[in-house]
Every structure is written in structure tokens, then in C-alpha cells.
Amino acid sequence: MNCIADARPGGNVFKYGDDINTDLIIPARYLSRSDPQYLARHCMEDLDPTFFEQVQPEDVIVAGANFGCGSSREHAPVAIKASGVCCVIAESFARIFYRNAINIGLPIIEAPRAVDEIQPGHSIRICIAEGKIHNTSTGARHSAPPFPDFIRDIISAGGLIAHARGRLAQ
């Protein structure tokens, strides 16, 4: 499992509050399609209508508690991943969003102190495997508890589909 790349130099941090629910991440009116690029175009549109115009590869979402609460729609992490966001850092994640993000390979980190410290405009470097976050704009370093081995196996395989295919092939 490699460290993911630096956030784009001078790239965006999108900062949101607590309880960002899946209706805000991707409204249900778009769920009849599963094409990631289509979903990305509507990502966050009821909360932050300019999100898709502004987001660039390697940008980061930083959010408060209970990110991804509400429905079970996997379209939510899929839309975020397809928008180019390379990682979501939150104080905490809602249960199903947490599973879905791991299962589809969207990097996520629970790091409440990092959420307090990181502001829009900062550049950050993240190592998912080690749970390390380095804010290169301020010099601050943050860490999160690493994932249990079981979850690391799924992440290493590239998500649950690849993991299950590996098992089915055995």
C-alpha cells in the first residue's frame, strides 16, 4: 500500500461541517445512473453548487462529524472519488459510508485534530497506510489510528470486488 500523492500544490481543501448527508453528496434524483463521471458532475450540488467546477484532481475534502450519514447509496463515495478528490478527512464517518468508501477504494481518514487545523488553501500530504497527515502549509503533523488488518487487506486489494475476486479464484 503506497502513500498517496501530494495534494496538488496550492490545491483546494474543501471544508464542510458536521452531518454532511448522502442527499447532499449526491441527490437521489441522479441515482438511476451509476456512471461515475455523471455522478461526479452532481456531487455536492445542493450544498455547494460550484464544487464540481472548482474541484481538481488531488483535492481533499475535510469535514466534521458523521460524514456520509443518511442513505446507503454507494454513489456518494463513487461521486466523490470520480470528482478527483483523493481523500476525505473527517472527525468521524457514518457507518455505511465508511464501509462503502473502503469497498470502492476511496481513501478516508478519521482525524478530528486535523479537521480543526486544516483550512481551505492549505496543501497537505497524506499517507493512508500509516494514517499520517502532513500540513505542508503550516508544518503541522497529524495521525490517525491505522485500519485493522482485515480492512487493510481490502484496501490493498483495491476494494472489495477485487478482494472477493481473489477469494473466489482460490
Binding site: R29, R73, L160, A164, R165
Partner: protein, 404 residues
């Protein structure tokens, strides 16, 4: 040796080995269900896993409920894909008008008490009212469970929610749910299996179903009813949290826009004009809810400048409501009766509010944009309270309208 919790007991059986809270396990899944909102991505992923041919098609159900009848060519294509898949594999299919997955599959005998079930919808927890360990999952989880018959879980800690006594007339399980939404908040039962203890309560299954449904809003992994005959066997089990609700003290509650957790007693917001009223969904479309709405609207009319939509949660409920004359009462009052299904709950079917309108609904959630218009304000309440608002044209305590 510590006493096993209900979820540990079920998980141990499904794994064929002793499981304890905190363990990561791979468990056998008894049933998997998929809606028309999740089918496109679930079926894609099943194909990625090997041709989409499941080992046990009889354990898989596809349900058309979110977008019925199909409102666009794209959705019609999704529905056709579901029909084709069912025909090809032999899996269970519930078509448009059959009803909401969290209701109709129980009526059709697909979901049974005591089983481990996953559904690709967060309100799958609703089946916990019938003693099923029913967990909401995403599309990838549902696909893996459907193809392999197994899925990974972290065995959750347990909590106990004890209900006592009985509801007052004019109050429903939805009021209990909304009151709990407020006290629990969005993460009050995070990752927990909430055991529902009703041995000291007199509560109808439809009302308990509304409580189990709401556990999705508290961050719970599941809510499961404990059978009275099993209660003694959990003596000495440990709980991460315990809550007590005296049903007799529950009054009508309402959630303010734009969060299901901003709940207050209805009396605090009486008089607010409403334009769109909706009775239906997995949270408020049961026969008990339709009876509650019809009781309020008998010999009444929907107020001018207000409209009422009603969607029974299943075809079976629709049929019983017809036989009991409830549909007649609601129709005569001026309601528009929609097909059994999710209705306008999440903006996927007809019944979208206009910008600036105030909506009162029995639905589970009122997040901004939920019903397809980010400029609408949505309040959540019981079927009785929604019917009272429809009759009054403004938010009203149903006990005032009913007995007033």
C-alpha cells in the same frame, strides 16, 4: 463466560464459530435485497464478480420501489434490466406497485425472523421489528453478498431500548421515533445493535416498525426486537447503552427542516401554513398509519391551498386499506392516492414540492433537497399529524383536530 448478546448469537450461528463484539468476521448471509435505486450499480458489480450468476438466486430479491412507475426512459431501462436479471437467474422480483422493499418482502415471505439479511438501502433496519438482523449496506457489499453468499462484518456492541406502557390515542410509533431522533442525535447509537425490548409495553407491530426504521438515523447498525420467550436468556448480557421510553408520556413530535434530528413537540410549531402533505414511505405508510390518517380525515376535507398525497407502503396494505374503507375516506377528503412505493420521499417519483413551499411528511428524512427541490422546507411527523395539517392547512396537534 459472558452472556452472548442477540447480535453475537446470530453472528456466531452465521459464522459457525463463536463471535464477540469487536471481531471482524465473514458471515453467511441468508437474504440480500436490492432496490431500483441501487440495482444499476449492484448488477454492474455482480457482473464484475463473474457473470452476475449468483449461487443462490432464491436468496436474492430485486424490488422496484423508488422510481415507480418509471418516470423516464433511463429508469424504464433500469426496470427492464431488473426484470431480465430475474427472468435469467430466477431471483425474486417485486415489480412496480408491489411496494417498498422494507415492507413488501416481509409480506411475501422472503424475509423471516431470526435471519441475517442485508439490503442495499439504509432503512433495511426496519425488519428488525420482526426479529430479523437486517443491515443496510452499499452496492458493493450487496453484490458480494449476492454472489458469494457471505460478507464481512464487524460484530457490533449492543444497546438496549426498553419500551414500557402504551401510546396515547392520536400518537403513533412515528412520534416515538421522532422523539428518539431528537434525544439520540445522528450518532447516539453509532455502530450499535439496538435491542428493542417490549415485554412491558403494549405496542402494535406497525408502531414498533417505525421505531426500528428510525434507528438508521441514530447511526445504529441494526435494531432488533427481542422475543419475549428469549428475554430471560439475555439475563446478564452487557450493554454499551440503555434507554427507557414510557410510551404513555410520548406526545406528537415533529422534525423541523432540514434535519430528522431537530425534533420538538408539535404544539411548539402549531399554526405554520403547509402546502404539501404526504403520508407514506417505510417510516409512515403502514396500515396503522393509513388508519391514523383516515381517523383524522373522516368527514373532513383537505384545506384550500393544501394538497395531500398518500402512498401505501405495499400492495397488501393498499388492499386492506380498500377493504377497511380507509382509501374511500382519504379519497373523499381530497387526497391523491399514489401507487404503493416510496412515493415522493426522495424526489425520485411524482410529488415534488415547489420552491419556497412547506411540506409535512411521514417520511424518514428531510435533508435539504430530499424531495427533489432544495428550496422546499420539509417537516416530518406522524400520519395523524400530517392528516391534521392537511385538514387544517397548517401544522396542528392531531389530538386537537381529532377530538376538537
Amino acid at each position: 463466560m459472558a452472556v452472548e448478546s442477540l447480535v453475537e448469537r446470530i453472528m456466531s450461528r452465521q459464522c459457525g464459530a463463536q463471535c464477540r463484539a469487536g471481531d471482524y468476521v465473514v458471515a453467511r448471509v441468508d437474504r440480500v435485497y436490492i432496490t431500483d435505486a441501487s440495482a444499476p450499480s449492484v448488477l454492474d458489480r455482480m457482473e464484475q464478480l463473474g457473470g452476475g450468476r449468483p449461487a443462490h438466486p432464491d436468496r436474492i430479491a430485486l424490488v422496484m420501489d423508488h422510481y415507480v412507475p418509471a418516470p423516464s426512459p433511463g429508469v424504464a431501462e433500469v426496470h427492464r434490466r431488473m426484470r431480465d436479471f430475474s427472468r435469467r437467474t430466477g431471483c425474486h422480483l417485486s415489480t412496480e406497485g408491489g411496494g417498498i422493499c422494507h415492507q413488501v418482502l416481509g409480506e411475501q415471505g422472503f424475509i423471516r425472523p431470526g435471519e441475517l439479511v442485508v439490503g442495499a438501502d439504509s432503512h433495511t433496519v426496519t425488519y428488525g421489528a420482526y426479529g430479523t438482523l437486517a443491515l443496510g449496506v452499499g452496492s458493493t457489499d450487496a453484490a458480494v453478498a449476492a454472489v458469494t453468499g457471505r460478507l464481512w462484518f464487524r460484530v457490533p456492541d449492543s444497546a438496549r431500548l426498553r419500551l414500557r406502557d402504551a401510546l396515547q390515542a392520536g400518537c403513533s410509533g412515528r412520534d416515538v421515533a421522532l422523539k428518539l431522533n431528537g434525544s439520540m442525535g445522528p450518532s447516539g447509537a453509532d455502530y450499535l445493535c439496538v435491542e428493542l425490548w417490549t415485554g412491558e409495553a403494549d405496542i402494535e407491530p406497525d408502531h414498533l416498525s417505525a421505531v426500528a426504521n428510525a434507528s438508521a438515523e441514530w447511526g445504529a447498525k441494526a435494531a432488533v426486537s427481542v422475543r419475549e420467550e428469549d428475554a430471560a436468556s439475555f439475563e446478564g448480557a452487557t450493554y454499551a447503552a440503555e434507554w427507557d421510553v414510557d410510551l404513555a408520556s410520548v406526545e406528537p413530535f415533529i422534525a423541523l427542516p432540514h434535519s430528522p434530528h431537530r425534533t420538538v413537540p408539535v404544539r411548539e410549531v402549531r399554526g405554520r401554513p403547509v402546502q404539501l402533505c404526504f403520508v407514506g414511505t417505510c417510516a409512515g405508510g403502514t396500515l396503522g398509519d393509513l388508519r391514523g390518517a383516515a381517523n383524522v380525515l373522516r368527514d373532513a376535507k383537505v384545506a384550500p391551498d393544501t394538497r395531500l398525497l398518500v402512498a401505501p407502503a405495499s400492495r397488501g396494505i393498499y388492499a386492506r386499506a380498500l377493504r377497511e374503507g380507509l382509501i374511500d375516506v382519504l379519497h373523499a377528503a381530497g387526497a391523491v392516492i399514489l401507487p404503493a412505493g416510496c412515493g415522493p420521499c426522495c424526489g425520485t417519483a411524482n410529488g415534488v414540492p415547489a420552491a419556497g413551499e412547506t411540506v409535512i411528511s411521514t417520511a424518514c428524512r428531510n435533508y435539504r433537497g430530499r424531495m427533489g427541490n432544495a428550496e422546499a422546507e420539509i417537516y416530518l411527523a406522524s400520519a395523524e399529524t400530517v392528516a391534521a395539517a392537511a385538514a387544517s392547512g397548517c401544522i396542528e396537534d392531531p389530538r386537537e383536530v381529532w377530538y376538537g
